[in-house]
């Protein structure tokens, strides 16, 4: 059982990285990015394509990929997504949904339907002894640490920096923030750019840890979403804990029957929604 829970926590680290971008975009501009999962998959494929060009190491692929993701996110928000914002959530939902279909089919055309993975080198096989006969893989542990660092980083960014203050201001009252001299279109674009960096990082780790294939996106979106809701909207630490809860739930389900893992995760999500609709750690805004 300890083994299952540890595996679940490590899986949760990956889910946390899936969900931070979603949480960030929703928190700052109430935009639900339906293409989140497909963008993660696209990030994974991009890393797989870039790695051989920069010497084959995934760290170098990340160094190249993350700034590109920042630029792509900024440009997408500035040119397309800013046009969809408003009281009505419909335009942003339809546009990101359309984007999701475009990405899925573009990946299918470029890479075929076969799952692929990114070579992690010696990290793939390394493991650490946690005392007794419990071992954890180095790579999953690294992912969990990265998730922890990203969560802490985002929370610090929101609470202590002027950029974070701008995020909170446009989130609370866009018009008042604009009267105070903020350019909300720019603030939104920076938020999406940051979200895309997190998405690319998540894709990179997904490609390292398991595989990516063009049809995976929707499921990754659902995991990201469930983590956000289980944890409670508007708090990054809540999202982190939500992701761990989801990871453990799925591992426990897998243990009973390999076909039940995802299903059991969904049920835990629905149970939380029923019993605690505001999540386990409700907070108004980050």
């Amino acid at each position: 059982m300890t083994e299952t829970i540890i595996q679940g926590l490590l899986l949760g680290g990956l889910y946390c990285l899936f969900s931070l971008g979603l949480s960030l975009m929703f928190g700052v501009m109430r935009l639900t990015n339906i293409a989140q999962g497909d963008l993660i998959v696209a990030g994974g494929f991009a890393a797989i394509s870039v790695a051989p060009l920069v010497g084959g190491h995934f760290v170098m692929a990340g160094v190249v990929l993350l700034p590109v993701a920042f630029a792509v996110g900024y440009a997408l928000q500035r040119t397309v997504l800013n046009r969809t914002l408003g009281k009505d959530p419909l335009p942003s939902l339809v546009v990101t949904f359309g984007l999701s279909i475009v990405i899925q089919n573009a990946l299918l055309e470029l890479y075929s339907a076969d799952p692929r993975s990114l070579d992690a080198g010696e990290l793939a096989t390394g493991s650490l002894n946690l005392g007794g006969d419990i071992y954890v893989g180095t790579l999953p542990l690294l992912i969990l640490v990265a998730a922890l660092a990203c969560t802490a980083g985002l929370q610090l960014l929101f609470s202590t920096t002027s950029l974070g203050r701008a995020f909170r201001a446009v989130s609370d009252d866009r018009e008042a923030a604009e009267l105070m001299g903020l350019n909300s279109a720019k603030v939104y674009s920076v938020a999406t750019a940051l979200a895309f960096v997190l998405i690319a990082l998540a894709g990179l780790f997904q490609g390292l840890r398991t595989t990516v294939s063009p049809a995976d996106g929707p499921l990754l979106l659902l995991f990201a979403f469930e983590s956000v809701i289980i944890g409670g909207m508007g708090s990054f630490w809540g999202t982190f804990v939500g992701a761990l809860v989801l990871g453990v739930s799925q591992q426990v389900g897998f243990k009973f029957d390999p076909g039940w893992g995802v299903w059991f995760g969904h049920l835990v999500f629905l149970a939380v929604l029923l019993v605690r609709p505001n999540g386990l750690f409700p907070k108004t805004k980050g």
């Binding site: 419909l90 089919n105 573009a106 929604l273």
Partner: protein
């Protein structure tokens, strides 16, 4: 001063007349048409009904669900179970399956309505996935690989195809009538008020929460009907086909092309979709990418859709659900002949 409420136009009366005539002609199709035409009609009928329900939810109720395939698949499986296990005639099982879907919407709404806006959308998707994964674990209906509708064995192919076609035609007419009459009723007026402003509607005494639930249940009924109909025609069902995301994807496309929040929208969109499908579906991934890009472009630059484009021409409203208030004001002093007042000042048009 007298006031009249205009609820129909000459164009709308003509539309209903032409529509009725078309239905009569369409009903005779099995006697002169080819069976491939009937199959095509049944398939597009399912897309149309599903899209109309999505339009009702998203365009009028403000609920952008991407999980309506839950009720589509449920309708299909209930119809199949009633036919295969309980010996019902599958055609008669269609309305029953729709009813079961509507009933299932009641508990499902308790969960889904806890989320708002964009998170409501993804929440409905999770619920549809739970339906899919749960049915995939039921071995009686073939688990993940699905099963066949055996209840129609022993009926000749021609009889089956003709009956399926007539039932599909009946379902389309029923769905259009259901949505049209619903939107023209008092509840429909309340729903359109909610569409325009939820806060204003609430302050006028409209029970917003109750209306939303009613719309959700009606939409589940329609989606269940579409699902049952589709699998009567298809004869084979599997969780991936029944609860597939593509149903919602095509519905969104149909509605955004035709025009969201107007009853003609899905009708126009379905015709466009049928034509695109006929000529471009061989292009596979490129075709799907094109549909996605078209939906994005329509949303960004042409949100009223083709239906809205036509409706802007005065009087050209095929199935009006608005109530237009026409006031005939008698001016106190005769208006001098050389300064005729603009007609708009004399007859302010208030559209509801």
């Amino acid at each position: 001063m007298s006031a009249t409420v205009i609820r129909s136009t000459r164009a709308s009366q003509a539309t209903i007349g032409i529509g009725a005539a078309l239905c009569v002609v369409a009903a005779t199709l099995p006697f002169w048409g080819e069976s491939s035409w009937m199959r095509e009609f049944v398939e597009i009928a399912c897309y149309l009904i599903f899209a109309m329900m999505w339009n009702l939810l998203a365009g009028y109720g403000g609920m952008v669900s991407v999980g309506q395939q839950a009720f589509f698949g449920l309708g299909g499986y209930v119809m199949l179970s009633l036919g295969n296990f309980l010996g019902f005639n599958p055609f008669l099982a269609i309305p029953l399956a729709a009813l079961v879907s509507a009933l299932a919407a009641l508990p499902v709404s308790r969960l889904a309505f806890r989320l708002q806006g964009g998170y409501f959308s993804i929440g409905t998707w999770v619920i549809a996935e739970v339906f899919r994964l749960s049915i995939a674990n039921v071995s009686a209906v073939g688990g993940g690989s699905g099963t066949s509708l055996t209840a129609l064995r022993g009926i000749s192919r021609a009889t089956r195809e003709h009956t399926t076609y007539w039932v599909a035609l009946g379902c389309v007419v029923a769905a259009i009538a259901l949505v049209y009459l619903f939107l023209r009723s008092k509840q429909g007026l309340a729903l359109q008020a909610i569409r325009d402003s939820e806060v204003a509607a609430e302050s006028q005494g409209v029970g917003v929460a109750r209306m939303k639930l009613a719309v959700y249940v009606v939409a589940a009924f329609g989606c269940g009907m579409a699902g049952a109909l589709y699998f009567v025609s298809n004869l084979r069902i599997s969780p991936d086909a029944a609860f597939g995301m593509n149903w919602t994807a095509f519905a969104i496309f149909i509605v955004m092309i035709g025009g969201i929040g107007r009853i003609e929208g899905p009708l126009i969109g379905a015709v466009v979709f049928w034509a695109l499908n006929k000529f471009f579906s061989d292009y596979g991934t490129w075709y799907q990418m094109g549909l996605g890009l078209l939906a994005i472009a329509m949303t960004l630059f042409f949100r009223e859709g083709l239906g809205g484009f036509l409706q802007r021409r005065p009087g050209f409203e095929m199935l009006p659900t608005r109530r237009i208030l026409k006031l005939d004001v008698q001016p106190a002093t005769p208006v001098p002949a050389h300064t005729p007042a603009a007609p708009s000042q004399l007859m302010p048009k208030v559209s509801l």
